[in-house]
């Protein structure tokens, strides 16, 4: 599997994400936001966490306008895989690759802690390594993780089994405790929690590594 990890100015989980992909056996390429094309044959584009452009405008809004954006959209339109974590999830909603938006946490504070998630669907290359309904421990670290969408969108997400993860104890006020969602072709995943921070024994848990291994497995077969 060939993964492209993007870096925007202000990204700060790009290395962490690259390391997690490498550990799952992927070939990782780092891509600068001013680049206009992705490396040949990329299977998955990964948009990392951090504070792209300082989050001084709406989180992810400026990154979504970066030169690399067109190539990422084209990759998604071709049916390529895209993973957005934390700020990456925000970028993907701003790019229009995922519906809804991430608002300021209900408690108005930054929250960093390991939380319990439920795997809401196993029907995706990202989540097929989990058991449906499995409870997994993965850290969150964000100020704007309060997912929202209109009623129609929510109904679609649920009806089409596109909610990937939910919080067991909603930390940020997200509607229906949604922590991560899939695109309609199930190949784009955005999630606020950081699986790359729970992918080695010394992280204190490896529940996140399942996601990367699921991907490597699924994409090797594809």
């Amino acid at each position: 599997m060939k993964a492209a990890v993007l870096t925007f100015p202000g990204s700060n989980c790009d290395r962490d994400l690259a390391v997690a992909f490498e550990h799952s056996g992927a070939e990782v390429h780092r891509v600068w936001h001013k680049d206009t094309s992705l490396p040949e044959g990329v299977d998955i584009v990964a948009v990392p966490g951090g504070f792209s452009f300082g989050d001084y405008l709406r989180c992810g809004a400026i990154a979504a306008q970066s030169p690399i954006g067109a190539a990422v959209r084209a990759h998604a339109q071709r049916g390529g895989y895209v993973l957005g974590i934390c700020n990456g999830f925000q970028v993907l909603t701003e790019m229009g690759l995922l519906p809804g938006a991430l608002m300021r946490n209900a408690g108005l504070k930054f929250i960093c802690k390991t939380v319990e998630l439920q795997v809401a669907t196993t029907d995706s290359a990202f989540t097929n390594g989990y058991d449906k309904g499995a409870r997994v421990m993965i850290p969150v670290a964000h100020h704007d993780g309060n997912y929202t969408a209109d009623a129609e969108t929510l109904a679609r997400l649920k009806g089409e089994d596109r909610v990937a993860f939910t919080y067991s104890d909603n930390p940020n006020g997200s509607v229906d405790a949604i922590a991560g969602i899939l695109s309609d072709n199930r190949r784009v995943l955005g999630m606020m929690p950081h699986p790359e921070r729970a992918s080695e024994v010394s992280h204190g848990g490896t529940d996140g590594s399942v996601l990367f291994r699921s991907l490597t497995g699924a994409l090797a077969l594809a």
Partner: protein, 719 residues
């Protein structure tokens, strides 16, 4: 633009005493220009010149085989083997944080991160030691919220994990909070960048964010006592931009790879002035600056303003001219300013040009080295009085008094606002003892802790100074780390008062003795004096930041006991209650002497603990709150109960030093006791973990109830 005439009032407004002004006149042999007066005031204020503390700082042990570079550079450099070094420092941002808590704290974090990456190191861990006034004081909740938010906003966006720290409350900080920020970075030992300029005619390059009027006079403000005109000082606080800092980090580290950097300095206190003078002085060169070329954020800035601006996220570099194009391209890539603003010159001159005018023309080496140095009068702190009678209290009631106070309550409210895991190398998050991160890509780990018990230092500066170092040593040993070195952030009141200077001198003596005995030299530090409001000084607060090394994760000692584990104390318990947390929190008493620190025992017990780590399930140091608080914290974190055999208040809450509480599988207990006998270290069984209640002797309470109190008290006090 005409500059104001130099009057005695103007001189006084620059914080220069009449004799200091005479000294200035003696050096330059004429009346200074307005810009020159500003430059001297910046170089000679307490914050930059350490004029009251230097004499005593020189007495601290700063060398050892592990030390690559001690105090004097931006941060200390310590060998961690395999050609790698850890680079760290702690620095205060007290006065700005009291005036504007969010930005004051944020820029404190920004400044210390810059100190670390200026030397070529990527920051890998941060800590914050915060001291606030009483929760009931009208300003406290606002300060706590602002400071914590400010620390978080900067560190989180920059992308450095905050892995430890302290938060305390005491009435002496009512008008003067303390914000001490620590950062550590990692670099190859042979690729460390220093501030020594070399070569004549080399371009002096300005990097980073543009210069504005923010912080003009900030260093002078930081060296003054507060009074009721404080609100007028808000414009001297700088505004932080972690996004620019993150880009500056990446650009600087990229630049340093190219060989283009001859020397580099961050622009911290007194910005352009201090950084340029320091590079010139260390390289025995002069510096010429053409201020028209300085990237400016505001129109019509004067030379005075540019030389004293403390705008953040800026660096000054002496560049290898052959690599100018390469260097410029890196800064263009990161959308940062890159401007040649001057050059190194052979003569001993600090020459500042603006427009067609000479705004300052000063002897550079004198400017750097001639700051007044004072041997301030001091009096030894009188011996502490007796502890006195201690009112009767039940052990569980006493525990409730501690864990229900914001001083000893669970601090998740604070540290969950900090990203403690970014970089994905954090192995031990904040909350229980030292923070631990992996040295990326190696089996090694680094441990970090920050400690001081100001009550002890007030009662007995020498023992209190020792204790701060000893506690840091124990916190590192308790996670299995070998203590390496320390940084000290010395926060005191007005040094012109002999009793305050006496506290300072005593604490330095104690710290010096302890770092020598425990082989953890001071490699960097910062002094913050004049922490007084309306003539009332803070508790003397010499914060010790310390770093330890673990060869691999096999050496780690957990903080979490298991159900059924035995509880043992390593070290001797006498039951010292003077200046204890119990007296302060349960009875509002601050009586008696600080506990005595036996440095030989500290070292012996620390080494014993590390040598026997295989027999330990978990360990923690015993400090304020004693055995009872430590046992509760350990049990609570592991979600299990605990029983301690003793119900005696002095046994449970005494704060004798050189002690650890360890949890041990029952099967390993005989081996540990035998090891203790062989080593001559007292190891005593004191109880057992397990069940669902906390029992001290015959008194008990459900863990769940105590846990509820412990986890809600902080937010209740200030949230």
């Amino acid at each position: 633009m005409t500059e104001p005439a130099i009057t005695p009032e103007l001189v006084a407004a620059h914080g220069l005493k009449p004799d200091e002004y005479e000294r200035l006149l003696g050096i330059i042999g004429r009346e200074p220009t307005f810009t020159e007066l500003g430059i001297f005031s910046a170089m000679w204020n307490e914050h930059c010149s350490y004029k009251s503390s230097k004499k005593w700082l020189r007495t601290l042990p700063t060398t050892g085989p592990q030390v690559i570079c001690g105090p004097g550079e931006n941060a200390g450099v310590v060998d961690i083997g395999d050609g790698q070094a850890v680079i760290f420092k702690m620095e205060s941002h007290n006065h700005p944080s009291y005036i504007e808590p969010h930005q004051g704290a944020a820029t404190g974090v920004g400044g210390i991160l810059r100190d670390v990456f200026t030397m070529g190191a990527r920051p890998i861990a941060a800590m914050n030691a915060l001291s606030f006034g009483l929760p009931s004081h009208p300003k406290t909740a606002h300060l706590v919220k602002g400071v914590v938010e400010g620390v978080g906003s900067y560190g989180n966006a920059f992308g450095v994990p905050t892995v430890g720290g302290e938060v305390r409350f005491h009435r002496s900080y009512n008008g003067n909070c303390l914000v001490n920020a620590f950062a550590a970075g990692l670099a190859d030992a042979d690729k460390i960048f220093y501030s020594v300029a070399s070569g004549v005619g080399m371009p002096v390059v300005y990097l980073g964010a543009k210069t504005g009027r923010d912080g003009v006079g900030g260093a002078t403000m930081a060296s003054a006592e507060f009074d009721d005109t404080i609100e007028e000082k808000r414009p001297t606080v700088q505004v932080g931009d972690p996004f620019t800092e993150k880009r500056l980090l990446e650009a600087c580290l990229e630049l340093m790879q190219t060989g283009a950097v001859i020397s580099i300095q961050d622009m911290g206190a007194a910005g352009l002035t201090c950084s340029a003078v320091e590079m010139g002085d260390k390289g025995k060169l002069g510096i010429k600056l053409q201020l028209d070329d300085v990237p400016q954020r505001e129109a019509a800035m004067t030379a005075y303003e540019m030389m004293l601006s403390e705008s953040q996220e800026r660096m000054l570099m002496v560049l290898n001219p052959e690599l100018e194009a390469v260097a410029r391209a890196i800064f263009v890539k990161w959308d940062l300013d890159f401007a040649i603003v001057g050059e190194t010159i052979p003569e001993d001159r600090f020459l500042i040009l603006h427009g067609n005018e000479v705004k300052a023309d000063l002897p550079l080496s004198k400017l750097a080295s001639s700051a007044p140095e004072y041997d301030r009068p001091w009096v030894e702190t009188p011996a502490a009085g007796p502890t006195g009678d201690i009112p009767a209290i039940g052990p569980i009631e006493a525990l409730r008094a501690l864990i229900g106070s914001p001083n000893y309550a669970h601090k998740a409210w604070v540290y969950e606002q900090y990203d403690s895991m970014v970089m994905a190398d954090t192995v031990r998050s904040p909350g229980l003892g030292a923070g631990v991160v992996r040295v990326h890509g190696t089996p090694k780990l680094l441990a970090f802790t920050s400690d001081v018990t100001p009550r002890y230092v007030k009662a007995n500066p020498v023992e209190g100074g020792k204790q701060a170092v000893a506690e840091a040593y124990r916190n590192l040993c308790a996670v299995g780390a070998r203590p390496l070195a320390t940084t000290d952030n010395l926060n005191f009141g007005n040094p012109e008062k002999p009793e305050i200077m006496g506290q300072f001198v005593g604490a330095i003596k104690g710290i010096g003795a302890a770092v020598a005995a425990l082989d953890m030299p001071i490699v960097s530090g910062n002094v913050s004096l004049y922490n007084e409001t309306d003539g009332v000084g803070i508790l003397p607060t010499p914060t010790i930041g310390a770093v330890g090394l673990l060869a691999s994760a096999d050496d780690l000692i957990s903080g979490l006991p298991r159900e059924g584990d035995m509880a043992l104390v390593i070290g001797t318990t006498h039951g010292h209650l003077g200046q204890s947390a119990l007296l302060a929190e349960a009875f509002g008493l601050e009586t008696g002497d600080a506990p005595e620190v036996d440095l030989k025992a500290e070292r012996k017990h620390g080494e014993f603990l590390r040598a026997n780590r295989k027999l330990l399930r978990a360990a923690t140091d015993l400090s304020d709150g004693g055995l009872a608080l430590a046992a509760f914290e350990m049990a609570e974190a592991a979600k299990t109960g605990v029983w301690l055999e003793s119900g005696h208040i002095s046994t449970l809450f005494g704060e004798d030093q050189a002690r650890y509480l360890v949890a041990c599988d029952i099967a390993d207990v005989p081996d540990l006791i035998e090891a203790g006998e062989k080593a001559g270290v007292k190891v005593a069984q004191v109880g057992q973990f397990g069940g669902s209640s906390v029992c001290f002797g015959t008194a008990s309470a459900p863990l769940e109830e105590l846990s509820g109190l412990y986890r809600s008290a902080f937010a209740k006090a200030v949230g």
